[in-house]
Structure formats: structure tokens, C-alpha cells
Symmetry: C2
Subunit: 207 residues, 2 copies
């Protein structure tokens, strides 16, 4: 559709800006409450890069995630999408226009919690990560192949809850491998920081 | 937008058909993996109405949910939406055109797992229910006010996992009350059948 093409062209422009300013940009997607914010917080804690990292937090409404991420010392801006089920390249362009990005080397974009819409709207990031959690059950990956195929890194979070959920983690890993053999698959407990170094390595972030 | 208006008009037509055939229709919405299918199965088991109940299962792809629901003895049809993040009134119209609905008194529609898009696309149901689960964390309701405002019944599922998730159930109940004071709030464990009778009562289903 025309809207998708227009977004892709704006995404390419965003990417050129990031490249010119030497800012590595990561699009963090995933289901509602899968652990995107917790993962970003855990990554920031490990990187200890303070204000050299910027974060754009996307949600329909509220500033909850921006406030939680700000506590880790990064520059943060909250973007509210209203009723849109995804961030888009235009919102990102407007967000970075308002941010002071000198000395920033790394930009995380936390996309809206949704396993469908964000896959269709690239933002101009260098890497795309999708987080799903064990608590969504065993079928999440096979039911949403399109977004998982966009991922460079697939994170299966909340591994601590596999037992009460009776979910087979090995099967979910096979599903990820089948849907997107090129992606790196990492298991995490974002609250405890387990698996976070492996996510950092998979994203190619220098520590 | 024009698409939304067209959908609302088709939804009204669906509703007229359901009313003429005396079929009570319930739209079951909720986040990915929140427990929609498990809740429908638990309700079917309690109602014991066999083929007098029909279910339309909506997903981007796969027939997984239709197969799981079929095991409970209801008539089931799977609708795949492709890349659409919601069912719409037209898909429902086409689905019921293919189903044999004589003797059917009750129709459940399991919407696509998503807390944004389905709220905007009524299907012609008599009642709308939204399921969210404790494992999505504490902010889900306040972050997605629009869909929760569409609900006649709000279900908070997976209450058994409140402790490992460190989620305050009472606060989520207050959030639901604040966002939509008119909705009935029910706490469930859909796998164990806990709270399911209360959902049946809240929906006004005769047992
Ligand atoms: N048990 C457990 N809980 C987790 C884990 N990761 C995150 N959580 C909890 O899950 C809930 C949701 O985490 P968030 O980080 O807010 O998830 P999110 O993907 O950012 O959510 P949205 O932005 O609202 O879509 C919170 O209560 C977290 O504390 C984990 O690995 N294990
Ligand atoms: N511990 C626990 N697990 C549950 C509960 N309800 C559902 N589950 C599990 O949660 C997972 C997802 O349940 P489903 O019923 O498939 O959820 P859904 O909303 O239909 O999922 P989608 O249709 O894929 O969006 C499955 O592994 C269920 O067994 C509950 O109350 N407690
Ligand atoms: Mg978040
Ligand atoms: Mg389901």
C-alpha cells in the first residue's frame, strides 16, 4: 500500500541520519508486557553508558515506560501514538528532531507492544529485535511468522516461568529456528539480568 | 475513517442476522496468549451445550485454536486474517455464510490477539469481553484504555501467577474500574476453570 511505501522511504532517510551521526539504532519490538522495557533497562545497566545512550519509548498513551527507563540514566523521550498500533518512521523523525543527540552513540526504540503492526513499519534502525515471553504460551512464534521474520535477534523472556506455564522452551526455540533461521535466539530473564549479555553480543553492541 | 464507518454498518447487519436467528454472540478480545482460547474451552465445558454452540476462531495464520476448541464439541471455523491485526464485520459475515447455524443458540468469536486494533472494529456481537493476564505486568489496562472501554466484561486471567510476577491484582482491578466503571471485572484461572462460572454469569449466558 502507498502508506507502507511512504514509511519505508522515510525509514531510509532516518537511517542515513543515524549513519551520518554514527548512532547505532535498535528497534525493540514484542508482545504486550513481554519484557521490552525490562530488557532495555537491563541492557542499559550492563552497558553503563549513561547519557551516551538515548531511548525513544513508544506507547498508545502514558509516560510510564519513559519514566522507568529514565531511572537508568539514559536520555529518554516518550512518543504516544494515540490509537496507532505501531511507531512509524515519521514519528521517529519528529522525535529525533527534538532530542539533543551529540555524544549519543546508541539509540534504542521501544516499539508499541504488538506482534503484528510494527513488523510492517520499519523505522530506519540498524537492527530489529523481537521479544516474546514464555507466559504467552507455546504458539506465539508460529502464529506470528511475519514479525519474527523481521528480527535479527529473537528473545524468549520470562524463562523462569516455563514450569508453571508448562511451556516447552526447546520447542519455541525450534519454532524460531524454523520461522527465521537467520536470527539469533536468546533466552532471558530480563528482571534478573539473565541472558542479557548474550543479547548485547547478538546486537553487536560494544561494551 | 471511511473503513471504520463501513465496518460499523456491516456490523449492524451481522447483529440483525444474529437477532433474527436468536443467536447470542460474544466477541472475545485480549492480548496475545492472555487465555482467550483457554477461557472459551472452559466456558464450553461448563455449558455442556455441544453443537448448540458455534465458535469462529480468528488468527493471522494456523488452525491451532480452532482445533483446540473443536475438542470441546462445539462447531468451529477458523478464519485467517493474513496480516490484518483484527477480525472485521465482513470476515464474520463470510464466515457465518459458510456455517450451518440451525440449532445454534450461542456464538463465540475469538478475535486476533491484540489490545489495539480489535477495539476499533465491532463485529456485530451482543457482548464484548476483553481478557488480559497477570503475566503482562501491572500497566496493561492503563496503557490500552480504548479497548477496555469497549468491554462489557473485563477478565484478568492467570491469577495463579500473580506471586512470581509480583503483580498487584487489586491495583489492576482499580485500573479497570477507573478506565471502565460500567464493565464487570472477573479474575480467572482459565486452565483450572476458576472464575469461569462468574464469566458465564457476567455474559448473561443461560446454563
Ligand atoms: N517473572 C518475570 N517477569 C518479568 C520478566 N521480564 C519482565 N517481567 C515482568 O513483566 C512485566 C512486563 O514487563 P515490561 O518490561 O514492562 O514489558 P514490556 O514489553 O515493556 O511491556 P509493554 O511496553 O507494556 O508492552 C513486568 O511486571 C516485569 O517486571 C522475566 O524475565 N521474568
Ligand atoms: N498458568 C496459567 N496458564 C494459563 C492460564 N490460562 C491460559 N494459560 C496458558 O496460557 C497460554 C496461552 O493460552 P491461550 O488460551 O492459548 O491464550 P490465547 O489468548 O487464546 O492466545 P492467542 O489466541 O494465541 O492470542 C497457554 O499455554 C495456556 O495453557 C491461567 O489461568 N494460568
Ligand atoms: Mg514497555
Ligand atoms: Mg487463542
Amino acid at each position: 500500500k502507498d502508506l507502507l511505501a511512504k514509511n519505508r522511504s522515510l525509514a531510509k532517510k532516518n537511517r542515513k541520519r543515524f549513519d551520518r551521526s554514527n548512532i547505532l539504532t535498535i528497534d525493540i519490538m514484542g508482545s504486550i508486557g513481554s519484557g521490552k522495557t525490562s530488557l532495555i533497562k537491563a541492557i542499559l545497566r550492563r552497558l553503563g553508558m549513561g547519557q551516551k545512550v538515548a531511548v525513544i519509548a513508544g506507547d498508545l498513551t502514558t509516560t510510564i515506560d519513559a519514566e522507568r527507563i529514565e531511572a537508568e540514566g539514559a536520555r529518554v523521550i516518550q512518543v504516544n501514538t494515540g490509537k496507532e498500533c505501531h511507531l512509524d518512521a515519521n514519528l521517529i523523525r519528529r522525535a529525533i528532531d527534538t532530542m539533543k543527540l551529540d555524544d549519543v552513540k546508541l539509540l534504542f526504540i521501544e516499539n508499541v507492544g504488538n506482534l503484528i503492526c510494527p513488523g510492517e513499519f520499519p523505522l530506519g534502525a540498524h537492527k530489529r529485535l523481537v521479544v516474546t515471553s514464555v507466559t504467552e504460551g507455546p504458539y506465539t512464534i508460529v502464529k506470528h511468522p511475519y514479525i519474527f521474520r523481521e528480527a535479527d535477534v529473537i528473545v524468549l523472556n520470562k524463562t523462569d516461568l516455563a514450569k508453571p506455564m508448562k511451556v516447552n522452551i526447546a520447542q519455541l526455540e525450534r519454532d524460531a529456528q524454523q520461522v527465521n533461521p537467520g536470527a539469533t535466539f536468546v533466552k532471558t530473564n530480563a528482571v534478573k539480568g539473565i541472558g542479557v549479555q548474550r543479547v548485547i553480543d547478538a546486537l553487536g553492541l560494544k561494551t
